[in-house]
């Protein structure tokens, strides 16, 4: 069975990601154990709440260094929601607080003139990528006030999916073994479960 380590740094609702991964057949552990994380076939970084608070919790638990290490070693790595945002270099939500830097670029507020947070289901427009197989045109659940923005190193080549919310918003991004979704696959019914199954599958294939 494919093993997935869901990084447990003590914040918010992290169990949902674990439960959904188990539902699609993965052996998913919610853990902060370095040995378990390094032995896992794939790693998931969930996250909710404030960028700075999450980043500090990651650093305090030692999981920031651990996340960088496994991502750089080539283990398939998936960030979800604020977990995605943490993978970039910085966020307008917490100026001066560096992110993990696994992906280039920065996180900025959703455009003025739309309700923040975007708290709704929205439709994806996807590039051809194994993580998003079967999800083009699909509906997924978003809860966020900020998102990655193009520029400062983030190019179209990194963007795996967008959605329309006051203009195009980056909904999924990635580079090599490092992938991330702004939406919550673990809360996106069948479409979300499909994405997690895709992640488990590409993790298993790369083992």
């Amino acid at each position: 069975m494919t093993t997935i380590a869901v990084l447990d740094y003590g914040i918010g609702n992290l169990r949902s990601a674990q439960k959904a991964l188990q539902h699609v057949g993965a052996d998913a552990d919610l853990t902060d154990d370095p040995g378990l994380i390094e032995r896992a076939d794939g790693v998931v970084l969930p996250g909710v709440g404030n960028f700075g608070a999450c980043m500090r919790a990651l650093v305090e638990t030692g999981l920031a260094d651990q996340a960088r290490k496994v991502a750089e070693r080539g283990q398939p790595f998936l960030g979800i929601c604020v977990g995605m945002q943490l993978m970039f270099e910085s966020s307008a939500e917490s100026p001066g607080e560096p992110g993990l830097g696994l992906l280039p670029g920065r996180i900025d507020w959703l455009p003025d003139g739309v309700k923040r947070p975007q708290m709704q289901w929205n439709q994806l427009s996807c590039v051809d990528h194994p993580l998003l197989a079967g999800l083009d045109g699909g509906w997924v659940y978003f809860v966020h006030s900020l998102a990655p923005v193009l520029g400062d190193g983030l190019t179209d080549e990194h963007v795996l999916a967008t959605t329309d919310y006051g203009g195009p918003v980056v909904a999924a991004a990635g580079r090599d073994n490092v992938m991330a979704t702004q939406f919550h696959p673990e809360k996106s019914a069948t479409g979300g479960l499909r994405l997690l199954a895709n992640f488990v599958e590409l993790t298993r294939a790369g083992r």
Partner: protein, 269 residues
């Protein structure tokens, strides 16, 4: 793209779903986990569980219910009722709830809104507001508890809508958003249980006053009422209970009616 959410609300007490008419005469309509799975399959966008029997004694039952729902249902759900502290919120969120909704406890101690938002993020901090129309005085000014001025004409009530507070609904909505609420669940106590439709003036007053999503609640008696909540009330999401619980209408029928009214919804599976 603005996509309207359809949210069945399951009132729970002692681990069973009930729906009151003006919060009296409760009727039993089933098991929460089973109903949640059915609504997920029908295409519900979120679920709200309101623990209307909430007492300190049955908090653990509610936490266990959240965990059971999270095992089987992969759409977002909110739990409200009886949450009085950051610790109450933490237990529910750790069990698998995506959001907690606070009501009377926020009125009693507004700092609780900021505490929950700071600890877990605004996205999981819903403030439920129960509003009721008040009479105007001789000079035409709406007055609430002990003569308090209620400029919007809608007064915040607590304790299941039984206790007026002297607080204006619109002022209160602005205040809780300033304190960190990420969403407002707005229920009309005048309409709740009447099946006459949402209170659109109240919904519009609040949705225009704040820049976070507003869920309209209270009074849905037909599918046409759901779209009205958005078109006339300016709501971002619509909540209903009895029309769904007793099999009168499915979520798919609700969404078809909303699409026909010109709204964008997530198509049912």
């Amino acid at each position: 793209m603005q996509v309207t959410r359809v949210i069945p609300c399951l009132d729970v007490a002692d681990g069973r779903v009930v729906k009151g008419v003006n919060f009296v005469d409760l009727r039993d309509a089933g098991d929460p986990v089973e109903l949640a799975a059915v609504y997920d399959q029908q295409g519900a966008d979120e679920l709200v569980f309101l623990d209307i029997g909430a007492s300190h004694e049955n908090r653990d039952t509610t936490v266990a219910m959240a965990a059971a729902v999270a095992e089987q249902v992969f759409i977002p759900f909110t739990i409200g009722g009886g949450i009085r502290s950051v610790d109450d919120a933490r237990k529910l969120l750790r069990a698998g709830a995506d959001k907690v909704s606070i009501n009377s406890a926020a009125v009693a101690r507004p700092e609780l809104v900021g505490e929950i938002a700071e600890e877990f993020g605004s996205q999981c901090c819903v403030v439920a507001i129960d509003g009721r129309r008040v009479e105007a005085d001789g000079a035409g000014r709406p007055r609430g508890l002990e003569g308090a001025e209620i400029p919007s004409g809608f007064e915040v009530n607590t304790h299941g809508g039984r206790r007026p507070t002297g607080i204006d609904v619109v002022d209160w909505a602005r205040e809780v958003v300033d304190r960190g609420a990420g969403e407002i669940l707005l229920t009309s106590m005048d309409r709740d249980g009447t099946r006459e439709g949402f209170d659109h003036p109240m919904t519009r007053a609040v949705s225009e006053a704040v820049n976070v999503p507003v869920i309209a609640s209270g009074g849905v008696g037909s599918l046409a009422h759901l779209a009205d909540g958005v078109l006339s009330g300016g709501a971002d999401a619509v909540l209903a209970a009895s029309i769904f619980h007793f099999g009168e209408s499915t979520i798919a029928e609700a969404k078809a009616a909303m699409t026909a009214a010109g709204l964008t919804v997530r198509p049912p599976a």
